[in-house]
Symmetry: C2
Subunit: 698 residues, 2 copies
Amino acid sequence: MSDDKVMVIFQPSGRRGFVPKGINLIEASRLLGVDIEALCGEKKVCGKCVVRIEEGHFEKYNITSAQSHVSRWQQEEEGKFINEARKKQGYRLACVSKLHGDVLVFVPEESRAGKQIVSKAARDIHIEHDPAVRTYFVTVDKPTFQDPTGDFERVCSALEKEYGIKGLTADIFSLRSLPVALRDGDWSVTVSVWNDKEIIRFRPGRKEGSYGVAIDIGTTTVAGYLCDLRTMEVIDTISLMNPQCKYGEDVMARITFHMTTENGLTRMSDDIVEGLNWLIDQAVKNTHPPRKKVKQPKDYDGPEEFVEAPEKGKTYLRLSRDDIEDITIGCNTAMHHILLQLNPEFVGLAPFPPVLHHSLDIKARDLGIHINPSSYIFVLPIEAGFVGADNVGVLIAEQPYKSLENQLIIDIGTNGELVLGNKFKMISSSCATGPALEGAQIAFGMRAAPGAIERIKIDPETHEVDYKVIGRDAWRSFSQTKDMKAKGICGSGILDVLAELFASGVVSKSGVFAKGLTTKRFRRNPDNNQPEFVLAWAEETSIDKDIVITQKDIRQIQLAKGALYAGCKLMMRRMGLEKVDKVKIAGAFGTHVDRTKALIMGLFPDCEVDKIESVGNAAGDGCRAALLNRRKRNEADWCARNVEYIELTVEKDFQQQFMEAMQLPHMTDEFPHLEGIVRDEILHQQGMGAKVANARGV
Amino acid sequence: MSDDKVMVIFQPSGRRGFVPKGINLIEASRLLGVDIEALCGEKKVCGKCVVRIEEGHFEKYNITSAQSHVSRWQQEEEGKFINEARKKQGYRLACVSKLHGDVLVFVPEESRAGKQIVSKAARDIHIEHDPAVRTYFVTVDKPTFQDPTGDFERVCSALEKEYGIKGLTADIFSLRSLPVALRDGDWSVTVSVWNDKEIIRFRPGRKEGSYGVAIDIGTTTVAGYLCDLRTMEVIDTISLMNPQCKYGEDVMARITFHMTTENGLTRMSDDIVEGLNWLIDQAVKNTHPPRKKVKQPKDYDGPEEFVEAPEKGKTYLRLSRDDIEDITIGCNTAMHHILLQLNPEFVGLAPFPPVLHHSLDIKARDLGIHINPSSYIFVLPIEAGFVGADNVGVLIAEQPYKSLENQLIIDIGTNGELVLGNKFKMISSSCATGPALEGAQIAFGMRAAPGAIERIKIDPETHEVDYKVIGRDAWRSFSQTKDMKAKGICGSGILDVLAELFASGVVSKSGVFAKGLTTKRFRRNPDNNQPEFVLAWAEETSIDKDIVITQKDIRQIQLAKGALYAGCKLMMRRMGLEKVDKVKIAGAFGTHVDRTKALIMGLFPDCEVDKIESVGNAAGDGCRAALLNRRKRNEADWCARNVEYIELTVEKDFQQQFMEAMQLPHMTDEFPHLEGIVRDEILHQQGMGAKVANARGV
């Protein structure tokens, strides 16, 4: 690359490319199709475009990023928005920072433009009300010389007398507020009790509210549900990208990062904890009225002032972080171990044993999570190395163990997790679908946000393309070119693309581009000579580049669907089933996918179409169930120990099954040239044994 | 005071006085009888004389102390011994720092010369072996594809199979070391289990040692006993001054400090936590061989080097802080609340209710105490606002509740705590003895260290004085003047002085100096015109000053003994007793006091002399019992709730009883002039209601 270009990589989107030296980061983000909030139009006054320049050599991308690779700090402009501590961490205003060398740039959630369409929204599921945290109101007698009993014992007697709760302890942090709370409340207090065991909060007088957050930490996306612990209402749903994405897109990459980088584990843990604190902050902030700038006289030159601007007729809860009294967390095993700083090394090495399966009650403060200081976090239990607490969440939400039907539950995230069973037996397994079905690791893959191609049609004759993007109702064929503003392909569009490419004859059964394609949409990339197919021309996009699907992209999707299909088949064989009664698809993918297309393309084994059900973010639902009903926590532990985990990759004909399942739409012949690809993939799926062994120095 | 003198106050001893401006702090310490370690003789090269200059206005002493009141920092000399962080906290070398203005100087434990005679040494008491922390060794099978169960569950099954322990949880901090410990130990681990409930430590392979520390936090002195949890052996006893002494000598002063000073509570808490960490560090350090400087060639100018110099034939445990797996703490209610940052305000205000009575299990990390990170601290329960966990310690050590005899247990510390009872009933109360009986608040009071007058005789004819100091066997009359090197009067000498002053007719029954004393030892102090009696002339001392006992000193001792005697009497009346069967004196005072003299002087009610027993630091013994036997912890909670606390000051004739009890040796007449003094003292004892109310702004 010539000297007047520099490499920029934006995280967490992973968008990367060479841009002219000297342009600022907002300009670079436009060239690479990354949305950074910039309300003031680069006038350097809104402070919305805060980004972080990462330091270090990033082997994965083969670049060295440094804060010195951007122009000097401008105290006058940047100092207003970025304090000293954040400055030290590498935060800058994107509009001020000009590129002098290669950089890895992290765009924090708050600076990302174009609100994500929350695909992890809360569903209505039936949960019995029995939260782990309950509040009680008591009034006690004042101490006298005749009865100078301590404050705590006074409150305990009242709790026993009025509610029959005995043998309570109190956390030291909550005890610290007791004496003043009792006197401020004129000898009445509201007491929050955890699991009938421990007092975790004292508030003066009678207080009503009690809140919790259920959190689902995905490898790529984190979603949190702020819930009222009394009414079970979901007050708000907040999501963010997992800030660990910058260390690697899949769990194996993060495990390797831990093994090859000093303090890698604590860095990743600190990042997700920071993310969780941001999520909680955001949820709390949203319960307050928005704020607007005070209009000042023209000659005013004091600091900006803000006032609350409540929406008319709306009431606000005005919560503080201390009002969050309970948290439940579900996540896959690697995310679980990284969050808790449990060595994830052996999860990545056959036979992939986790450090523990059991659920955990951990004080939020022990993880550095800022809520009511005495509160606990309930971390859901784990089934196996590659079937984590997120899957346990799915199980307690869907409860296949209460059903006579044979249910196949597919949770497609960055990893695919499968459960098959009924009330008599359940087995689980995992398959390395990779993040392709979520739109990641695809050249123009993106999140389900405005501009993402979500539906597509390809004319079998002309191979012309029609498509639809999120945020615009009209298809391409009914729109002005310039109005499409396409940006990439989201997860739900991926399977559509593959089905259409096959149906229109652009790719063959084995997934390679057909010979003798005459459309100008088919071409070889000038940089790497790889074949690719243009979905949208540069003028239809907002990124001034053709959006293409490459041969490599197709392979990724084939591998994903092949792994999934083969996994399901092998599990059915284990259970002695020819057919399943019901297929439930969990995860964001399920909510968008065309069920018929999925069946035809062979994403999973045959089933009546109307028995295929999308269950949304069932992992998140499970976390919510555990938040609002503590018996679900025991149920989770029971599940984790009673679902039999099966390691598919050691099944004797897994390779054959996998290879067959890669065919489009369904295997009929043999495709010997696929063998190599499948073999590599199996290696990958076996925890990248070689990679991990290598990182261990074995 | 003239301009060429400045006020210096040394803490924690409380020694104070005016010294010439411009002298250094070592010279000032000599003038005021404070021992600061100075091995190099002020050559500024040994770095032993580190002290801390306190900042702020100290109302109690009416001085403003500032780091700028001493000469400038000398980087070359001081930088070698004091790092930047400690420099910022005000640490200096005493030999370098010259006095320019008034200062309050804190002398850290390590800089104090003249080792304290540990009066809180551990006694042999019978304790059944049943520690809360036990270690178990297990070997597990390696995980396989057929059984990829998690590490923790593997260990739990082995523990259940081999030892029958079920349902264990594990602290998150201990879990973090499990995967590596298990593999480093070739699938064998040593597991430390707390109360059959929670795993608090995993160590690779078979490990033997398991240690704990029992800590008794007194208002003035802190003592820690390092114990082997398996053999119950006391490996070491470490003591230090309570670093909070600089905020005030008694509990009321510290409560007031909390109420009148921003962050006063956290400052005091931080200081005692720092002290406890120092104590633990010291205990750990003592299990390693001493280190000596390496002799270098003459022309060597590199940094100093040290090597271990083990004593011949001695084996060393070489513990680390992580080897400390359990701690028990007992202390009075105010110290308890301050340590735990529980608001102590209401303990100082009638009717003195504590925040809680119950014992507490607190993670050491939650208090900032650095031992094995998952370990708990057991904090003994509290009886009442002025009868704390230290008294509960005394009870579980002495077990009067198992006796048919009526036992009177007197624990004389800075506060006097009394228990009277038998196996059928126990009552407790507190009396404000003040710290006089410990040698504090006495003009020349000092700790039981070399140079302290501990025995005294006064000739009834000539009023000449003979005495003995700690560290020298010969009495004054058999010694050279210059050899006595007296420094002050320690607690055990105080009662001797009073008894002799009375017996020799120097003071009257009411405690005032007799009229017409002709000895030159009796005089009026030129500064304040108060009467005083010289015990040792300047030339017999190491402080170049006459050691005197003042009228005020005598009053302090009278108040102490009066409060104690009256308290005992009122308790006996409550129990309907004419006489007690046994008197047990706990605390350092008891080990040194002459029992007969104590009886004659009316320190406590009549009892057969051979039924008076000194039980040493019984509070510390109780902490040790709780450390080595967890059933003692339940016993402690039982005690705290079953001893009836009696507030003496509200008994109807307390004032009369108190006044009578102040007489020497025993009341026969009326002394109306004492009434005022007694009334003031009762106010003081009622928690200094006025002072506290004032601090509250009421």
